[in-house]
Symmetry: C2
Subunit: 428 residues, 2 copies
C-alpha cells in the first residue's frame, strides 16, 4: 500500500461541482489500495477576493492580520472537500495548519516551513481516513497563523510528502504539465514527460508558474518524486525527479506503474521561460570598498527581500555601479531599505525600473556548450531586442530585457532552439 500526497489548486476546486469531481478522483486512488493525504488551495479567486476586501479597510495591512485572513480560504476548501468525501461514504478529516502542526518561522506572508509534527496526520491515516490538509498556511511556535506566499500550497504538499515519506507527490493543476514554453505565448510549445529537479528549479525560479519554486527545492532536498498533472484530464503530466537511480525512484516506479528511463547524455534546451515580474534597481556611485555589496544585500536580506540577478561594474574613479533585480511587488519595500542604505553609503543615485522582463532557457550541460548562449544572444540581437543584464549557470541562461519585448523574445528563442520540432521527452 502506497502513501500518496495529492495537491489540488484553486481552479480545480473553484465550484462545489468541481470539489465533488475532485473527491471522486481521490476515492478512486484510495480504492486502488493507497493511503492519501490531500492538500488544498483556496477555491478559485478566493485569495484575491480576500486581499481586495482587506485593501478596502486598510491599504497597507498588518501582515499578521493579512495572514489570518488569507488562511481562511484554504480552511474552507479543506472542510468542503472532506465533507464531499464523507458524502461518498469515505472517512475523511480536514485539518488546518495548526491541527496538522505545520510549524513555520514568523515571516508573515512568506513564511518558511521549519518542521511538521506529523503524529496527528499519521493517527488519522491509521484510522483509515483520507486526511485533507489546508495548504498555504502554517503556525509559528507562538501560535500565530502564517502563510507561505503565493503557490505555497505546493510547498505544503511536498513538505508533507517528505515528512510522511510518501511514495509520490501529485500536483493537480489547471495545466497538463511542464511545457517547453508557456503555451499561451508560444502555441507550438510541447509538454515534457520528465524533467530533473535542477532544471525544474531553474524553470520555477525563472517564472514558470506551473510550480512553486520552494516546492521544487524541498522536493529535491528530500528526493520526493513529483507528478505535475491536470485535474481535468486523466493524461499523464510531467514527472520531476532526481536523475540518480535510487531506491526512492524504484519505489515510485512500483507505485505509479510508470517506467523511469535513464536520461540521455549531452546538451538539450528543455524550455524557455518568461518572467514579467522583474524590477531593476541601479545604484550609481557606490564606494569601491570591501564589504559594501555585502552591506547592501545584507540589509535587503534582513527585510526578507529576494534579490535575483546582481551585476557590478567598476569605474576608474573608485566608484562602482551595482544593478540588481527583485520581484516587482517587493519594490515599495526595496525603496524603503535602499533609501536608508543609499544615504548611509552616500551613493550618487538610485534608479528604480519596474518595467523589466527576464527571458531564460533551461537545459542540461549548458556551460559545456558555449554555442548555446551565442545562439540566444544572436537571436535576440537580430530582432533588435536590447539585453540589459545576463546571468548564466550550469543549466540556464537568463537575459533581462524591456518588459514590452518579453513575449516576442520567448517566441523567437523557442523557435531558434527548435523546441516546437520534437517532443523532448528524453530531455533530462
Amino acid at each position: 500500500m502506497a502513501l500518496i500526497v495529492q495537491k489540488y489548486g484553486g481552479s480545480s476546486l473553484a465550484t462545489p461541482e468541481r470539489i465533488k469531481e475532485v473527491g471522486k478522483g481521490i476515492i478512486k486512488t484510495k480504492k486502488e489500495g493507497n493511503s492519501l493525504v490531500v492538500v488544498v488551495s483556496a477555491m478559485g479567486d478566493t485569495t484575491d477576493n480576500l486581499i481586495s476586501l482587506m485593501e478596502k479597510v486598510n491599504p497597507d495591512p498588518p501582515k499578521r492580520e493579512l495572514d489570518l485572513l488569507l488562511s481562511t480560504g484554504e480552511m474552507v476548501s479543506a472542510a468542503l472537500l472532506a465533507a464531499a468525501l464523507e458524502a461518498e461514504g469515505e472517512k475523511a478529516v480536514a485539518l488546518t495548519a495548526y491541527q496538522g502542526k505545520i510549524i513555520t518561522d514568523d515571516f508573515h506572508t512568506k513564511a518558511r516551513i521549519k518542521k511538521i509534527r506529523s503524529e496527528k496526520i499519521l493517527e488519522e491515516l491509521n484510522r483509515g481516513k483520507i486526511v485533507v490538509v489546508a495548504g498555504f498556511q502554517g503556525i509559528t511556535p507562538e501560535e500565530t497563523i502564517t502563510t507561505l506566499g503565493r503557490g505555497g500550497s505546493d510547498t505544503t504538499a511536498v513538505a508533507l510528502a517528505a515528512a510522511l515519506k510518501a511514495q509520490i507527490c501529485e500536483i493537480y493543476t489547471d495545466v497538463e504539465g511542464v511545457f517547453t514554453a508557456d503555451p499561451r505565448i508560444v502555441p507550438e510549445a510541447k509538454k515534457l514527460k520528465k524533467i530533473v529537479y535542477d532544471e525544474m528549479l531553474e524553470l520555477a525560479s525563472l517564472g514558470a508558474k506551473v510550480l512553486h519554486l520552494r516546492a521544487v527545492e524541498v522536493a529535491k532536498k528530500f528526493n520526493v518524486p513529483l507528478h505535475i498533472r491536470s485535474s481535468f484530464t486523466e493524461n499523464e503530466g510531467t514527472i520531476i525527479m532526481s536523475n540518480i537511480k535510487n531506491e526512492r525512484e524504484k519505489e515510485m516506479r512500483e507505485a505509479s506503474g510508470k517506467i523511469v528511463e535513464e536520461p540521455i547524455e549531452g546538451f538539450i534546451v528543455t524550455g524557455v521561460v518568461l518572467d514579467e515580474t522583474e524590477a531593476k534597481i541601479t545604484v550609481r556611485g557606490v564606494p569601491d570598498k570591501p564589504g559594501v555589496a555585502g552591506f547592501i544585500f545584507g540589509k535587503l536580506a534582513e527585510a526578507n527581500i529576494n534579490v535575483d540577478m546582481i551585476v557590478q561594474s567598476s569605474s576608474p574613479e573608485g566608484k562602482n555601479t551595482i544593478s540588481f533585480t527583485v520581484e516587482e511587488k517587493d519594490l515599495p519595500q526595496v525603496r524603503k531599505v535602499m533609501e536608508k542604505v543609499g544615504s548611509e553609503l552616500r551613493v550618487d543615485e538610485i534608479i528604480y525600473d519596474p518595467d523589466m522582463a527576464k527571458v531564460s532557457i533551461v537545459g542540461a550541460g549548458m556551460q559545456s556548450h558555449p554555442g548555446v548562449a551565442a545562439r540566444m544572444f544572436t537571436c535576440l540581437g537580430n530582432a533588435g531586442i536590447n539585453i540589459d543584464m545576463i546571468s548564466t549557470s550550469e543549466i540556464k541562461i537568463s537575459c533581462v530585457i524591456r518588459k514590452k519585448e518579453g513575449k516576442k523574445a520567448v517566441r523567437l528563442v523557442h523557435e531558434a532552439f527548435e523546441l516546437d520540432k520534437e517532443i523532448p521527452e528524453e530531455a533530462s
Copy 2:
C-alpha cells in the same frame, strides 16, 4: 480605566465601509480611557453562504467539518477589523478561538464554553492593544474547532466579559434594544430602558432574537451587566442587569455614567414574544410505568436536543399521551430518536407537527396575579385562536397555537395588556 467588552453582529460588519465605521466607534471608546476587547460575528450573510456552499457538496455534512467551515467567517471579520483599527493608527490584534483559548465541549454546531484561558488576551491588553476576538467559535481540548450555534458570538462576548471581569458587555446589533414586542409585528411596540436577567432570559428563550439565550444565562451567572444597542445610532439601548444592588452594578454605574434605578414593585407585563420555530410531537399510547418519561427525554437529551414544553395526560386504560415541543430545525433528528424510542416502548402512534408557534408574555410577579393568565386566554379565545398547550412560570405565560395565527396573536396580546400606552421603563 474600565475594561469593556463589545460585540458587533454581522449586519454591523456587512461591508468594508461598515467595518471602518465600527472601527471609529471602537477607537472613540478607547480614547475615553477604556481597555477594549471586541468580539465579532461573520460579515453579513457569510454564515448562510458557507452553509449553502456546504449543502452543495454534502447535504448532511459531518458536523466537525461544518464547524471548521463556519468558523472561518468570524476569522475574516476579526482580521479585517483589527486591520481597520491599525489603519487608524491604533494597535490591535485579531485572535481566533484557538489563540484566545476559548475551550468548549465537543458538541459540534452547538458547543458550550467550558473555560477561557485569558492569559494571551490579558497580555495583549497590557501592551495597549485592542483585542479583536473571532466570536461564535471555540476549540476542544483535543484542538478540534467547534461553533456555539446561531447567535453564539453573544455568548463569546459575555463569557469573555465574565472571564476578564469586564465592567460591562455592550452588544451592538441592528436593533435599538429590547422592545415590548417585535416592532415588525407590532408597530406600536416600545423600547425597554432596563430589564432584569430573568425576564430577558424568558424573552430570549421565547424567541426574541435580539440576544442569544445562553449569553443571558452566562451574564446572569457571572452578573455581567449587558447593554444592547444599535451600531447605527448613538442612542442608549436596553440595559440588562441583576435587580440586586451590588458592587458590580455600582462599578457599571461609574463606568457608564448612567443612573441605575431601583425597580418598582408589583406586576407589569414587560413584553410579548412570538416564536415561530416550534414543532410539536405527540406520542400516543405510552405505557403508564414509572421512568418512561425519563427514558424518552433522556434519549433526546443524549442527542443534545432541547425540549421546550412538555404536557402529559393519562387515560383510564393505563396508557398516556405525551406531547412536547422542540425547535423545528431539530425535527429530523428528533424523528430518528423517537422512532427508536417508540418501537422500544411499543407506543401506539407518534405525530410530528412542524406548524406550531408560541406566544408568550413576560413580566415580574406573574404568578401572584392570576388575572394575567386569564386576560391572555380570553383575548386569544375571543379572536377564535385555539390554545394547544400552556406553560407558566414565575415570570412568563406561554401558549402554543397554530403557526399561521402567531402574528395576529402577538398584536392582540400586546393591545390587551396596553403595552403601546406607555414606555414601561420601570418594568423591572
